[in-house]
C-alpha cells in the first residue's frame, strides 16, 4: 500500500473531526446521565455543539474581515492600513492583526448613550435581535460533507424568509431612536432591501429550476465533480451569479448600496443614535449577513464545498474549500467597496426596478431554455443571446431615457 493511498483519505476527511467529535462527546456523556434525561440532555448538547463552531467561527471571521477590509481598502487607496496594534504584552506587531481586539475593547468600554426621548426597550432590542436572523441564516448552509446544521427541504426559502426579517429590526432601530434622520435612514434601508430582494430571489430561481430542489444540500451535491458542473459556468449561471452578487451587496447594505447609512448624506441613518457595543452589534450583523450571502452564493453557483477539480476532492477537505471560497467572496466585497462610489437614492431604485428585475426574469427564461435545448454550444448561443441582447438594449435604453432639463424653482423666486 503506497503512502498516498493512506494519506489521502485522512487528509480529505480532516474536517470530519467536528462531526465525529460531537458524536464522541455525546456518546461518552450518555453513560453518566440518568436514563430518563438522556434524550433531552443529549439532544440539547447536540444542538449546542452544532451551534458553537458556527458562532465562534463566524464571529472570528467577522473580527478578521474587519482587519482584512481595512488593510485591503488601505492598499487600494495607497495607504498601509492598520499596522500598529500587535498582540498584547508581545513585541511583534503582526501587521496590525491585534486591531480587531483593540476595536472590540474600545467598543465595549465606550459610553452607551440612549437618547432621552427614545423608546428604550426597542432601542435595546433592535441590535440584539438583529443578530438572531443573521446567525439563523447560517443554519441551512452546507459547510462540508455532512456538515449542515439543518438539512431543510426548503432551505433556500428558509434563508430568504430569515433574511427578510432583518428589515423589521432595521426599522425598529430607526423608529426607536426617535430621530428623523434615523427614521429616514431606516425607511431608505427598507425600501432598498425590499427592492433588491426581488432580483435576489428571482436570480436563484434558475438554480432551483436546474436542480429541482430547494434544499441547499441537494443544490451543492448537483455541482459535485469539478468546474464543469458548477452552475456559474453556464450562461444563466454566470448572469444569475452576477445579479445575485449585486443584489446581495444591496441586501448586506454594502457599498455602493450603503446610502441608508451614508455618513455624508444622512448622518449614518438608523445607526445615528447608537454608540458603543450596540453599534458594534449592528456592524456584526451586517458582516454576518455578508458572510451568509457569500456562503449562499457559493452554495448556489460556485460548487459549495466541492473542489474545482475532481482529483482534489480526495486530498483537501470540503470545509477548506468552503472557507477558501468564502474568503474569495469577502475579497470581492472589499474590492467592490474600495472601487464604487455611493449611488443616489433614485439611481438605486431605477437600477433595481428597471435593470435588475427584468434581467433576473430573463435569466429564469434562459435557464428554462437551457434545460429544453440541453446545453452544448447551441444552448450557449441561444441562452447567451437571450441574456446579452436585452442587456445591451437595456444599457442603451437606460442611458437614452435620461433627459436633462433646467431645474425650475417654483417657490424660491
Amino acid at each position: 500500500m503506497s503512502l498516498t493511498s493512506l494519506a489521502a483519505p485522512i487528509l480529505a476527511n480532516a474536517d470530519q473531526f467536528l462531526v465525529d467529535g460531537k458524536h464522541a462527546v455525546i456518546a461518552w456523556l450518555v453513560h453518566f446521565l440518568p436514563v430518563a434525561w438522556q434524550d433531552v440532555i443529549t439532544g440539547g448538547l447536540s444542538i449546542l455543539l452544532t451551534i458553537a463552531p458556527i458562532t465562534i467561527g463566524f464571529a472570528t471571521l467577522f473580527a478578521l474581515s474587519t482587519w482584512l477590509e481595512r488593510k485591503g481598502l488601505g492598499r487600494i487607496q495607497n495607504r498601509m492600513g492598520p499596522n500598529r496594534v500587535g498582540l498584547p504584552f508581545l513585541p511583534w506587531k503582526l501587521y496590525g492583526l491585534g486591531q480587531p481586539m483593540a476595536d472590540g475593547i474600545k467598543m465595549l468600554i465606550k459610553e452607551d448613550i440612549v437618547p432621552r426621548n427614545a423608546d428604550k426597550v426597542l432601542h435595546f432590542i433592535a441590535p440584539v435581535a438583529l443578530l438572531v436572523p443573521a446567525f439563523l441564516a447560517f443554519s441551512v448552509i452546507p459547510y462540508g460533507d455532512g456538515m449542515v446544521p439543518i438539512n431543510l427541504d426548503a432551505g433556500l426559502l428558509f434563508f430568504f424568509a430569515i433574511g427578510a426579517s432583518t428589515e423589521l429590526l432595521v426599522f425598529c432601530a430607526g423608529w426607536a431612536s426617535r430621530n428623523k434622520y434615523a427614521l429616514l435612514g431606516s425607511m431608505r434601508a427598507i425600501a432598498q432591501m425590499i427592492s433588491y430582494e426581488l432580483p435576489l430571489i428571482i436570480s436563484t430561481f434558475s438554480v432551483i429550476m436546474a436542480v429541482g430542489s430547494l434544499s441547499l444540500v441537494a443544490i451543492v451535491d448537483a455541482q459535485a465533480g469539478g468546474l464543469a458542473h458548477w452552475h456559474v459556468f453556464t450562461p444563466w449561471g454566470i448572469a444569475g451569479f452576477i445579479l445575485f452578487f449585486i443584489a446581495s451587496l444591496a441586501e448586506a447594505n454594502r457599498s455602493p448600496f450603503d446610502i441608508p447609512e451614508g455618513e455624508s448624506e444622512i448622518i449614518a441613518g438608523h445607526l445615528i443614535e447608537y454608540s458603543g457595543f450596540k453599534y458594534a452589534l449592528f456592524f456584526m450583523a451586517e458582516y454576518l449577513g455578508m458572510f451568509a450571502m457569500g456562503g449562499l452564493a457559493i452554495s448556489l453557483f460556485l460548487g459549495g464545498y466541492h473542489a474545482p477539480f475532481a482529483f482534489l476532492e480526495g486530498w483537501v477537505p470540503g470545509l477548506v474549500w468552503f472557507v477558501g471560497k468564502l474568503l474569495v467572496m469577502i475579497a470581492m466585497f472589499i474590492w467592490v467597496r474600495g472601487t464604487m462610489p455611493r449611488l443616489r437614492m433614485d439611481q438605486l431604485m431605477n437600477f433595481a426596478w428597471k435593470f435588475m428585475l427584468p434581467m433576473s426574469l430573463l435569466v429564469v427564461v434562459a435557464a428554462g431554455l437551457w434545460r429544453f435545448v440541453g446545453g452544448g454550444w447551441v444552448g450557449w448561443l441561444i441562452c447567451g443571446g437571450l441574456i446579452v441582447a436585452p442587456y445591451l438594449a437595456l444599457s442603451r435604453g437606460l442611458f437614452k431615457a435620461r433627459h436633462w432639463a433646467k431645474r425650475e424653482y417654483r417657490y424660491a423666486d
Binding site: N78, F355, L394
Partner: protein, 214 residues
C-alpha cells in the same frame, strides 16, 4: 455599455492594490517613528538665525533691521537692537540683535520672515519635533536657541544655501578688491598730494556756507 466604467474602475483599484506591494509610488507612506522622516528640501517648520563660522556671537548674520519683526503676520518676533556695533562679513560695522525672541507657539510657519530678510540671516528650519511640557517658556526660543551654524543650513536646504554662499563669497571678494583699490587710490592720491606743490585752498562750496534750512 452599462458596466464598462465599473470594470475599468475595478481594474484601477486592483492596480493600486497589487502595485502597492511592488511600486514605491503606489505606497508613499513613511513609517515615521521607526524610519526617520524623509523631508523634502523645501520643508519649512520654524525660523532659525544663521551664523557664519564657529561663534554664534561673532558670526550672526542678523543686523537687527527689524523687517521680519514688522512683516511677521502673527507678530511672534521680538527684537531689541544693540547699542554698539560689530563688523559683519564684509568688515562693515553693523548693529546686532541684543535680544531676538520668537514665540514658536504663535509662529504659524508662513516663512515670510525668511522671504523678506535682506541679510540672509533668518531661514525656516525643518525640525518639527519641538514638543515640550511647558507651553510658555518651552516654546519661547531666544537668540542662543535660534542661532544655527551655516553648515546646518547647507544640510537642510542645500540648493538655496549654495546659491547664498556663492553670492556672499562673490560680495566679499568684490568688497575686498574694492577696499584694496580704494586703499591704493587713496595712497596714490596721498602720494600725489604730497608731490603736488602747495597752492591756494579751493573756494568754499555753496552748501557749506548756505544757511541751514529749518
Amino acid at each position: 455599455m452599462l458596466g464598462t466604467g465599473l470594470i475599468k474602475g475595478m481594474g484601477e483599484t486592483a492596480r493600486n492594490f497589487f502595485g502597492s506591494y511592488v511600486d514605491k509610488d503606489r505606497l508613499p507612506t513613511q513609517e515615521y517613528p521607526e524610519v526617520p522622516a524623509q523631508l523634502k528640501e523645501n520643508t519649512r517648520q520654524f525660523p532659525i538665525l544663521v551664523f557664519d563660522g564657529e561663534d554664534p556671537d561673532k558670526g550672526l548674520r542678523c543686523v537687527s533691521c527689524q523687517i521680519c519683526e514688522k512683516e511677521c503676520p502673527p507678530k511672534c518676533i521680538y527684537i531689541v537692537k544693540s547699542k554698539d556695533k560689530k563688523p559683519d562679513f564684509l568688515g562693515k560695522p553693523q548693529i546686532y540683535p541684543a535680544t531676538f525672541d520668537i514665540d514658536l507657539s504663535v509662529c504659524m510657519s508662513c516663512g515670510i520672515c525668511a522671504e523678506v530678510c535682506p541679510f540672509e540671516a533668518i531661514f525656516m528650519d525643518t525640525e518639527f519635533e519641538i514638543a515640550t511640557a511647558d507651553r510658555f517658556g518651552g516654546l519661547l526660543a531666544n537668540r542662543e536657541q535660534l542661532a544655527k551654524p551655516n553648515s546646518h543650513l547647507q544640510k537642510i536646504h542645500p540648493t538655496m544655501a549654495k546659491e547664498i554662499d556663492d553670492r556672499r563669497a562673490d560680495a566679499s571678494v568684490k568688497a575686498a578688491a574694492k577696499a584694496k583699490a580704494d586703499a591704493e587710490s587713496k595712497a596714490k592720491a596721498a602720494a600725489a598730494e604730497a608731490a603736488k606743490p602747495k597752492s591756494e585752498p579751493p573756494p568754499p562750496t555753496p552748501a557749506s556756507t548756505a544757511p541751514v534750512a529749518s
